[in-house]
């Protein structure tokens, strides 16, 4: 019996090995090298200790970019999670047009970034559609991409792109909740709100963890649209960490990129760890 179990375990390891080797070769080892580089000079690989970390923390551009990225994450993730949950619950209760609406919300996921950028330009240019509408209504032109409004354009773009994706994940989670629980609750006199707060939400905690992590990781992809629209130096409110890494790479500041990347990874790991801890504690 033990021999059989060991043999089965060996088969499992054999199947996992190729992927594990891939992760080691293409993710873990390079990251280990990044960590080492974060303690070395940019080009000469001379050991500099924590000088790079000091330089990163003291760099005004890094502080601005990190602040913008945190602000973006803090605003977008809760909004996205909440909105997509509301949408998922609404769609779940719909009888007609459910599939059509599901597909409609998923379309933005498939739209390439370059196409999104074209739409941005048509809508948010100083002589674009939205300003045209504003002028017609008697207002003044809004410099969407050259003022603080650029940040909210980014937020809206992120929400628009990822709403459908998160909604589908929520719907998968909702589908996993046994309907008998709802029936039993209704028999006991529970209303919709009570069902939602006492049955739906607790059963969706696993999905919440997954969706939060995925949304957080997707938030870094919004850089593509921001860069395509506004280039290397967008309005300050849109200046994210990836802009900084991009520009540092152009300026050969590999040491600072490595240090900042390590800090970035630590923050992300910490957040995910906290989330997991909260989820485990609930369980």
């Amino acid at each position: 019996m033990r021999k059989k179990a060991r043999r089965q375990a060996m088969w499992g390891i054999c199947f996992l090995l190729p992927d594990l080797l891939g992760v080691i070769c293409f993710a873990l080892l390079p990251f280990a090298q990044v960590v080492i580089r974060s303690f070395q000079g940019a080009v000469n690989h001379k050991w500099v200790g924590f000088d790079n970390y000091k330089a990163v923390f003291q760099n005004a551009a890094f502080r601005m970019a990190a602040g913008n990225t945190l602000r973006f994450t803090a605003i977008c993730i809760p909004l996205l999670v909440a909105l997509s949950l509301v949408l998922a619950v609404t769609l779940q209760h719909l009888r007609l047009g459910k599939d059509l609406l599901k597909s409609a919300f998923l379309i933005p996921v498939a739209v390439p970034a370059a196409s999104v950028v074209l739409v941005w330009k048509v809508l948010f240019h100083s002589n674009g559609l939205i300003n045209g509408l504003v002028l017609k209504l008697g207002g003044e032109k809004i410099p969407w991409m050259t003022s603080g409004a650029a940040f909210f354009v980014l937020v809206i773009s992120y929400l628009w792109k990822n709403l459908g994706y998160d909604m589908i994940l929520w719907m998968a989670g909702l589908a996993g909740i046994p309907t008998e629980i709802y029936e039993a609750a209704k028999v006991d006199g529970a209303g919709e709100w009570k069902c939602f707060t006492k049955i739906t939400l607790p059963n969706l905690k696993t999905s919440l963890y997954t969706i939060s992590v995925l949304s957080f990781l997707n938030s870094f992809k919004v850089f593509r649209e921001a860069w395509l629209v506004a280039g290397d130096y967008p309005h300050q409110s849109m200046y994210l960490l990836q802009h900084l890494y991009n520009n540092w790479f152009r300026d050969l500041s590999f040491d600072r990129i490595a240090a900042a990347a390590v800090l970035n990874a630590l923050v992300v790991l910490a957040l995910i760890f906290l989330l997991k801890r909260a989820w485990d504690a609930e369980e």
């Binding site: 190729p18 760099n59 100083s126 290397d232 130096y233 309005h235 991009n246 152009r250 500041s253």
Partner: protein
């Protein structure tokens, strides 16, 4: 059941093994026995028959006796044009026999296009300039007219008549016919029919009995044609097409040739009397060969492979000034005749199986944008060092939408991976970034050697000197000058005074206005930086305001015609590519419509033009342009050697050559040499044999098609005091223009938006400040 279970295990194990194999990089099994591939074509110059003034080659072809026949104009002959001689060589160009000469009466014709049949007979096409209507005076107001009588087109402003001459194998001219249109290319079919491509891109057949031109294949759009066996190749703006000659039916496109010819976005619509950018020929077996700057290629009809036979980067073919004339192949050797700025030559390419196919030493040179002067220097360097291959890489070819940032990131990726170039041309890059990261070697020993031999303009050569040495050196430079009426120039002290002058009608002209952001950027860019590395907003605001005000002032006084022209330029996007270069032969100034022009002077020809224009207009002068009468210099082709260089000796040798007199003189493109001896020679042009100031350096003719206004100007080489003035001016310069592309792009983009009225001055300044502050903050700590 057990068997089924076993098969399942075997299948899954095989799949897993396959996945593993796919994830493991294949180990290349190189049969490296240390032996290099041997054999390549070597270039030699064919010595032409003795002639003091030289030969101007018009054509070369193989005859059916296997001899090489050449048609060339002997420049020794008196008169406007030399006689066309037919020379034959049966030993591959070692010796030449003069077979025949065109008769005297044909010497009035400027023959620029020729074609030969295999038997040695042929046709030559050219033009006659009518003395009655030739030449123009400044301010001539005659409008362009044309009249057509008996198929002869006469340009009443330029008096040109086109004609062709047929000659037999012995060189006797048989018929001379007028042509209704100018011909830019001629070729013979296998049946002896003459096909001509006109300047308008149409393909015609020329009747050999009457000279009548009949349209065939197409009326326009052909950029090049070539005959191969029974087919006609037509090169258009984006296609290579084949036609059946006898039926004129299209046979389809040749995609393999298209992939080669259009890969870099090159266009071939540049035919002139001095040559073209591609030539064709076929060998005895009907295999097609063509020659471009990239080299010589071979292609068989109906084949899908184009093979590079001669790598142009290792020969003179890569010289950007080269204009190809004709090509022939005789007994496996290629003969290519070309014309450049100074003379024509016949090059021979012969296969040598005993030489390595690529030189054993290689150095890589990288620049963001193509530097034609550098390419010329590479061509001559390789001739002197055949054991070294100089691989010139360009980051922004223009063909693939790569931005400056993208190109720099790609470069840095290569440097990080250990595959970076050996010599880096830092134009458009931050020299301080590369030097500050310890990536560049100290070039002081190289400069010391050159200084000892020829002398250097140290104020420019040591632009990037710091406590660690000289990490980068500009090979060439430009300087900001203003030229024009003395009473205007005397009031030009700084940019504020330029703003005042712009209020006067006729003070400036549209060329300066179009380039104003660039020109003033050169003057002001280094003044915006405070000592602590921040941007001085006040000075930046002064710059943007000055550009806006000067432009607005000019527009207020400009005529409707000028306003329309500027609008047209804007729509065509021409304003996006200005460099701020000073045009020495400024038509507006020569027509008396403006009183001065200014910008960056980049070559001696423009300096000659400035001087000649000032003399022509009278009471005019030239001075350094900048604040307090001091100008700035623009470092051009700033080179550095990377610390990761693989062939350090060769790289240093190459940089030394670039700085040497020979290397500087090999580059005929923008910028004055930093090498003193080369600068002296460029200005004096002493090798022509006449005293400076006496020899005609060139002629300029310009006209406006809309109004018919035209101007012509002859200019001579500068006299000694004019040469000294320029040299002293260059030596006095201490401030240099910032050439880094990233901040430059930011500033110019927002300034142009302000000039175009899209945003206000304050908005432009705020936007620039925000972006530049971010840029500076990134590099700060």
């Amino acid at each position: 059941m057990r068997r089924h279970h076993f098969l399942k295990r075997v299948l899954t194990a095989s799949l897993a093994a396959g996945l593993c194999c796919g994830a493991i990089p294949a180990i290349a099994n190189e049969a490296d026995d240390g032996a290099a591939a041997m054999g390549r074509y070597l270039e030699t110059e064919v010595e032409l028959p003795q002639s003091e003034a030289g030969w101007s080659i018009r054509g070369v072809a193989r005859t059916d006796q296997g001899t090489l026949r050449m048609l060339a104009e002997n420049m020794d002959d008196d008169g406007m044009y030399g006689s066309i001689s037919i020379l034959d060589s049966s030993d591959g160009g070692e010796n030449w026999n003069l077979t025949a000469k065109f008769p005297e009466e044909d010497r009035e014709i400027y023959f620029d296009k020729m074609a030969l049949r295999p038997d040695g007979s042929g046709v030559a096409a050219g033009m006659v300039f009518s003395e009655e209507n030739g030449g123009l005076e400044i301010g001539d107001q005659d409008t362009y007219t044309s009249s057509s009588a008996e198929g002869v087109m006469v340009n009443s402003n330029f008096g040109v008549e086109y004609c062709c001459v047929f000659f037999d194998a012995d060189g006797n001219t048989m018929h001379r016919f007028p042509l209704k249109e100018g011909v830019s290319q001629l070729c013979f079919t296998e049946d002896g029919e003459v096909l001509a491509r006109t300047y308008g891109g149409g393909i015609y057949s020329i009747d050999q009995e009457t000279g009548e031109m009949t349209e065939k294949f197409m009326g326009s759009g052909a950029w090049q044609i070539a005959v191969c066996q029974d087919r006609l190749l037509v090169l258009t703006s984006s296609e290579v097409r084949w036609y059946d000659i006898s039926t004129q039916e299209p046979l389809g496109r040749d995609e393999s040739m298209e992939n080669v010819l259009f890969a870099t976005g090159k266009n071939y619509d540049d035919t002139s009397s001095e040559g073209q950018s591609i030539v064709f020929t076929q060998d005895e077996e009907g295999r097609l060969y063509f020659c471009t700057n990239g080299g010589i290629y071979s292609h068989s009809l109906d084949g899908s492979v184009v093979e590079q036979v001669v790598d142009g980067t290792m020969t003179s073919l890569s010289d950007p000034e080269l204009s190809l004339l004709e090509m022939a192949v005789v007994e496996g050797s290629f003969y290519v005749t070309y014309q450049n700025e100074t003379d024509g030559k016949l090059l021979k390419y012969t296969y040598d199986p005993n030489i390595a196919s690529t030189p054993q030493k290689e150095i890589t040179v990288y620049s963001l944008k193509e530097d034609k002067g550098l390419r010329q220097a590479i061509v001559t360097y390789q001739k002197l060092h055949p054991d070294t291959y100089v691989n010139y890489e360009v980051g922004l070819t223009g063909a693939d939408g790569v931005t400056v940032s993208d190109a720099l990131r790609t470069l840095n990726t290569d440097i990080l991976a250990g595959n970076g170039p050996d010599v880096l041309v830092l134009d458009g890059m931050s020299v301080s970034t590369y030097a500050g990261k310890g990536l560049l070697q100290d070039l002081s020993p190289v400069l010391d050697e050159v200084r000892e031999n020829d002398g250097l303009l140290d104020n420019i050569a040591e632009t990037w000197k710091n406590e660690d040495g000289i990490m980068a050196v500009p090979i060439r430079f430009g300087l900001t000058l203003a030229s024009g009426k003395a009473e205007v120039l005397n009031r030009l002290e700084n940019i504020a005074s330029l703003v005042e002058l712009s209020k006067e009608e006729g003070a400036l002209d549209y060329e300066e206005i179009l380039q104003l952001p660039e020109i003033l950027y050169y003057l002001c860019s280094n003044e915006w930086k405070n000592e602590d590395g921040t941007i001085n907003q006040e000075k930046l605001e002064d710059y943007v305001q000055a550009v806006k005000q000067i432009t607005d002032n000019f527009m207020e006084n400009a005529s409707d015609q000028t306003l329309k022209m500027l609008e047209d330029f804007k729509e065509e996007g021409i304003t996006d590519s200005y460099s701020g270069e000073l045009d020495g032969m400024n038509m507006e100034f020569l027509l008396g419509k403006s009183k001065m022009n200014f910008g960056v002077l980049l070559d001696s020809m423009n300096y000659c033009g400035l001087i000649a224009a000032n003399k022509k207009m009278g009471e005019s002068t030239v001075k350094l342009f900048g604040d307090d009468h001091t100008g700035v210099y623009l470092p051009i082709c700033t080179v550095g050697i990377l610390d990761t260089v693989r062939e350090p000796e060769e790289a240093r040798e190459f940089v030394k050559y670039l700085l040497s007199k020979e290397g500087e003189l090999a580059a005929n493109y923008s910028g004055f040499p930093v090498n003193r001896a080369a600068l002296d020679k460029k200005l004096a042009h002493m090798d022509v044999g006449d005293d400076a100031g006496m020899e005609v350096a060139g002629e300029f003719t310009g006209y406006y098609m809309d109004t018919g206004e035209s101007v012509s100007l002859s200019y001579t080489w500068p006299e000694e005091e004019e040469q000294e003035w320029l040299k002293n001016a260059a030596e006095s310069l201490t401030a240099f223009a910032d050439t880094e592309q990233i901040p430059r792009q930011v500033v110019l983009e927002e300034t142009r938006r302000c000039v175009n009225g899209e945003i206000s001055t304050q908005e432009a300044v705020n936007s620039i400040m925000q972006k530049l502050n971010l840029y500076l903050a990134e590099s700060g700590s």
